[in-house]
């Protein structure tokens, strides 16, 4: 097992900044270190120097780097009680009341698990034509994987259990097909999704968003980066827009949190304050 020291990590960060003008200096250290170590093994590299050399010599590899450095959602319908709340208490009424299309943004998609979970839910609620969905990712490869519907076979079982616990009204088996190595999700669900490549600074964030699904991404940022991202998310949301974070992510310690008030504490749902 390759173990990277703090000096190695700083070197890698410096190299990426000089080659690609991407600054990973504000990623949370321990998880970033683990992702780098995993990436070195997966790509048959040996140490920090060999990773830096590959990043320098192969620009295409950087896109794969962006995919592999990101942490995908653990499974579909993670935290079934949140999905139940969205299904039974929140989405139907708020979307019915919406003037114009109800815009939902997923700022960090990696494997598409959150996206497909959301689309299954909206489809079962027969609300697909009343929403517009924007799915962002840092990596082109990640967008390609989502568009193909490719999904890890090992995660089907737990995703199915979650779907049932979320009170899904259909059969989960209708939403994917099994292949030898992967499951392939029903891509007709995402045919109207707008995919957008978002850089590390969230520079091209959409506007007038009503709901942002952003779970378990803030944990990979240090407080400086959390603060910057939250202020971008806040700017993206329309008045009274909703932000959903991971249940163990606290936005109360972050200075831009003055923009938000708690709406559902158990499920980490926040509402943008109306200023004035």
């Amino acid at each position: 097992m390759t173990e990277l020291g703090i000096v190695d990590i700083r070197e890698i960060i410096r190299a990426i900044k000089s080659f690609y003008n991407y600054d990973f200096g504000n990623y949370a250290l321990t998880s970033f270190k683990q992702r780098l170590e995993r990436l070195i093994i997966r790509n048959n590299l040996t140490n920090a120097d060999s990773l830096i050399k590959k990043l320098r010599d192969e620009p295409d590899f950087f896109d794969l780097f962006l995919l592999e450095i990101s942490v995908p959602s653990t499974e579909m319908f993670r935290d079934p009680s949140l999905w139940r709340w969205l299904r039974e208490d929140f989405l139907p009424s708020v979307i019915e009341k919406s003037i114009g299309k109800f815009k939902i943004w997923l700022p960090v998609c990696v494997s598409g698990s959150e996206l497909f979970s959301l689309m299954i839910l909206l489809s079962e609620l027969k609300l697909l034509d009343k929403v517009s969905i924007i799915a962002s990712s840092q990596s082109n490869k990640s967008i390609e994987i989502m568009k193909e519907g490719q999904y890890d076979l090992k995660k089907i079982e737990v995703s199915t259990e979650n779907y049932i616990r979320s009170n899904g009204s259909g059969n989960f088996t209708d939403y994917y097909k099994l292949d030898r190595y992967y499951a392939f999700r029903d891509t007709s669900l995402i045919s109207n999704v707008e995919f957008n490549k978002l850089n590390i600074n969230f520079d091209n964030a959409p506007a007038n968003v009503k709901l942002i699904l952003f779970r378990n991404s803030l944990i990979y940022c240090n407080p400086t980066m959390q603060d910057r991202i939250l202020s971008v998310l806040s700017d993206s949301l329309s008045a009274s827009g909703i932000l959903i974070t991971g249940i163990k992510e606290r936005i109360s310690g972050i200075s831009s949190n003055k923009d938000f008030e708690i709406m559902n504490e158990a499920e980490s749902v926040y509402k943008k304050r109306i200023i004035g």
Partner: protein
């Protein structure tokens, strides 16, 4: 010896042992206790409450970036890995399962060993897989104290015997001996 933290890993058969340890610690236990216990991924509530019934020190499931405080216990939340970062802070993660586990005892132990080096006490209890063995080795390699529950006393031995295969633990202790060891820390 000036210890800075205790980390305890366990799985099947460890609940009663952890309960007994927590009920025997002094209220003013001078350092934080981290608990990484295997648990069902989808059951978020109930575990802290059950452990708290008899505990002498407060137990919480930390949020990401919470600061560890002396005299408190921190239980790795369901479906998150719990890391210890420098500066006494918790970092949570949703990375892949390790040894089929999230939280993984190996990951908690490795990161705690990196953060506290020789000032860490690592304890492996009863359990049904080998998670924690590599982590305990890391605690040892960083100069920390390693304790393994006596396999003869364990409800399920796999975790403790795996740990002992990989590391020559400083102490192989029964629950009562673990408690006496911890009570002497001041």
């Amino acid at each position: 010896m000036n210890y800075k933290a205790v980390i305890i890993g366990g799985s099947a058969g460890s609940f009663q042992v952890v309960t007994k340890i927590l009920s025997s610690l002094p209220k003013s236990f001078p350092i934080p206790v981290m608990l990484c216990l295997h648990r069902l991924k989808h059951v978020r509530s109930g575990f802290v409450e059950a452990l708290s019934l008899k505990s002498n020190i407060p137990i919480e499931e930390p949020y990401d970036k919470d600061q560890l405080k002396p005299g408190r216990a921190y239980l790795a939340p369901a479906n998150y890995h719990m890391y210890i970062e420098l500066a006494n802070r918790i970092a949570l993660s949703t990375e892949d399962v390790v040894n089929h586990s999230r939280p993984s005892i190996d990951l908690s132990f490795i990161t705690a060993a990196n953060a506290y080096r020789e000032k860490l006490i690592g304890i492996i209890l009863s359990g049904a897989n080998k998670d924690g063995a590599y982590g305990l080795k890391k605690v040892h390699d960083c100069g920390g104290i390693t304790i393994v529950q006596d396999p003869n006393e364990c409800e399920v031995k796999t975790m403790t015997t795996s740990a002992l295969q990989l590391t020559k633990a400083d102490f192989v202790y029964t629950t009562d001996q673990i408690i006496r060891f911890l009570q002497k820390i001041n």
